[in-house]
């Protein structure tokens, strides 16, 4: 009997090994950010079984990894400042450029980035901007300033949606006031606090995942939004224009990082290399409508994506990355945010 069991078990094991892929890859990614076909393509090309979980904010990603998920994923896709935070927390593994044959495909300006100098742990995924869009049927004036959100004109009062994350909303407010990020200057922080407090009655709602929906439905006539999300809203019929404010906008880049204690390091590197193929990077761009940081994608892009006004800011447009503040400063921004929503 025992022998029979053992034989059956052995037979089963060999069966599953035959049916299953060579290896595994576990991805932790944003929602709606990679086309399923691309994952299938990778799985087939490299004979790897791919699984993916999703998150909806950089902070949620960090919280989940801190709560014990580190070691169960191979790669994740944090934004710029979160790469720095995760690196400082020791959550990232490093690789040598030679381990990625396509390393040279990274656009030159995205190689030596401040959040990961020399790209020791990350590669570019997509980059874009955060600003706001305005419904042109409701507001016919000039679209060039963050004042439309923070000191709203009569037509837009009570019809504005702002992003429900302290980082983005308070950074845009700081840009409008012309004060630096992560300031500990009391006068500047009080000014920032006063600005958002005064603006809040003009805001209809706070929401990030609904940012596109409220513009399409008309619940909001103006709303903070990410560039690609705004392009999608336009494609869904909203008569909106994505604004490039003279005070500046937020520029961000999402990056594929190699996580510490990755169970399948080899496959993770294969996947990162795969995403640096121009054709594959372009597939992501065609889906998400942001911009790849990879050389040679243009021939694979759909024309309406390549030429979308949201992805092509004027040459002299100012843009800043969100900074990760030190703890003693971050609590002040948290307090302003809580104070705003109390």
């Amino acid at each position: 009997m025992k022998k029979l069991l053992a034989t059956t078990a052995l037979a089963l094991m060999s069966l599953t090994a035959g049916a299953h892929a060579e290896g595994k890859l576990s991805i932790y990614h944003w929602f709606e950010y990679i086309p399923q076909e691309l994952l299938d393509k990778f799985a087939e090309e490299y004979d790897v079984e791919v699984t993916m979980d999703t998150f909806d904010s950089n902070e949620a990603l960090l919280a989940s990894l801190k709560a014990g998920k580190l070691g169960s994923y191979d790669v994740a896709v944090p934004g710029d400042y979160m790469v720095k935070i995760m690196r400082d927390e020791g959550m990232l593994d490093t690789f040598e450029p030679s381990e990625l044959p396509n390393f040279g495909n990274i656009e030159d300006r995205w190689v030596d980035v401040e959040f990961d100098p020399g790209r020791k742990s990350s590669i570019p995924y997509q980059w874009g901007s955060t600003s706001f869009s305005v419904n042109k049927d409701v507001y016919k004036g000039k679209l060039d300033s963050l004042s439309l959100i923070f000191e709203a004109p009569e037509e837009l009062k009570g019809k504005i949606n702002v992003l429900d994350t302290a980082g983005e909303t308070l950074t845009l407010a700081s840009l409008y006031l012309g004060i630096p990020q992560c300031t500990s200057d009391k006068a500047q922080l009080k000014e920032l606090n006063a600005l958002v407090q005064k603006a809040k009655p003009d805001w209809a709602s706070f929401g990030s995942d609904v940012a596109k929906d409220v513009l399409v439905s008309g619940d909001a006539a103006a709303g903070m939004i990410w560039s690609g999300f705004s392009a999608k809203a336009r494609a869904e019929g909203a008569n909106i224009e994505y604004v490039f404010p003279k005070e500046g906008m937020i520029v961000w880049m999402d990056n594929v990082v190699l996580l510490k204690d990755a169970p399948n390091r080899e496959n993770a590197l294969k996947f990162m290399n795969f995403l640096l193929e121009p054709e594959n990077a372009a597939a992501v761009t065609n889906y998400a409508q942001y911009t790849a940081g990879v050389k040679g994608v243009s021939e694979f892009l759909e024309p309406e994506v390549a030429n979308s006004p949201e992805s092509n800011p004027p040459a002299d447009q100012k843009g800043v990355f969100v900074e990760a503040c030190p703890e003693d400063v971050q609590v002040l921004y948290d307090a302003i945010w809580t104070n705003l929503k109390k």
Binding site: K186, W203, F206, S217, D334, T338, N339, K341
Partner: protein
Amino acid sequence: MAAGAPMGAGNSSRIYKGSGWKLLFPSWIIIGIFLLAPVLMMGVYSFLTKEFRGGVIWQFSLDAYDQFFFDRGLFGDEPPRLEWTYIGIFWRSIWQAGLATLACLLIGFPTAWFIATRDPKSRSTWLFLVTIPYWVNLLIRTVSMKFLIRDTGPLNEFLLSIGVIDAPLGLINTNFAVQLGLFYSYLPFMVLPIYAAVERYDFSLSEAAADLYAGRWTILRLVILPVVKPGIVAGCILVFVPSLGAFLAPDLLGGAKTFMIGSLIEEQFKGNAGNWPFGAAASMILLTIVMCVLLVYARNQNKVEAR
């Protein structure tokens, strides 16, 4: 030990004597794993030192409770005053939950009464109708409510088209919308326990009261209400407690403009703040409030039974 005990139908309790605690094992495991352990963990975390950007340092600290109750100004350099921010958030949530409970009671009681006084055959049909919407996920229902009442939604378009109003009502992103969402989400929790109580009510009591010249109002107040009160109280608790921690309705229908208890706690774990001990402390304070409500209820029940 039970070997010498006489066997018989009336002695079942004796058979299990001594081994009763063993039979309770499964329920103790459930209570231990799903109730006591999480609450204990939350309690412990609330007394730890926060780690920047989420996490805890294993060092005793009262900072979380201090932050909840004392205000030292934006820069922490002013003398401590009572902190109204979080008390305000709690108060608003309690007020919202209370209003939602009241609304559910005002609509739920007559509904339950109506169903319980139909003939027994059609009762189950009515109950079935009450529960149908609840086969759909709460999130979907809340989003649907948003679609219905938004300025460009069917409700406003209908009212505009028949000329009752000449501008959209502007319901979305208001407290009224949140109330509507909570009311709609939790109404059956009010209807079902009240229905159960009314169904058992012996209507000859009302007839007897009427024979003794009691008016309709008096019958309702002095005869019916005391009998169905347990159902009403159970319904109120079932609506009040989940409303208190709700964050779907405030976020989706109220525009997330102000923190509710639920979203405040969520922000501590998932948001920028990343202050786990504070989130745990806020949860403990919420738990304490809910426990107090339930204790008052339990004591009242005991008094009623003692009478």
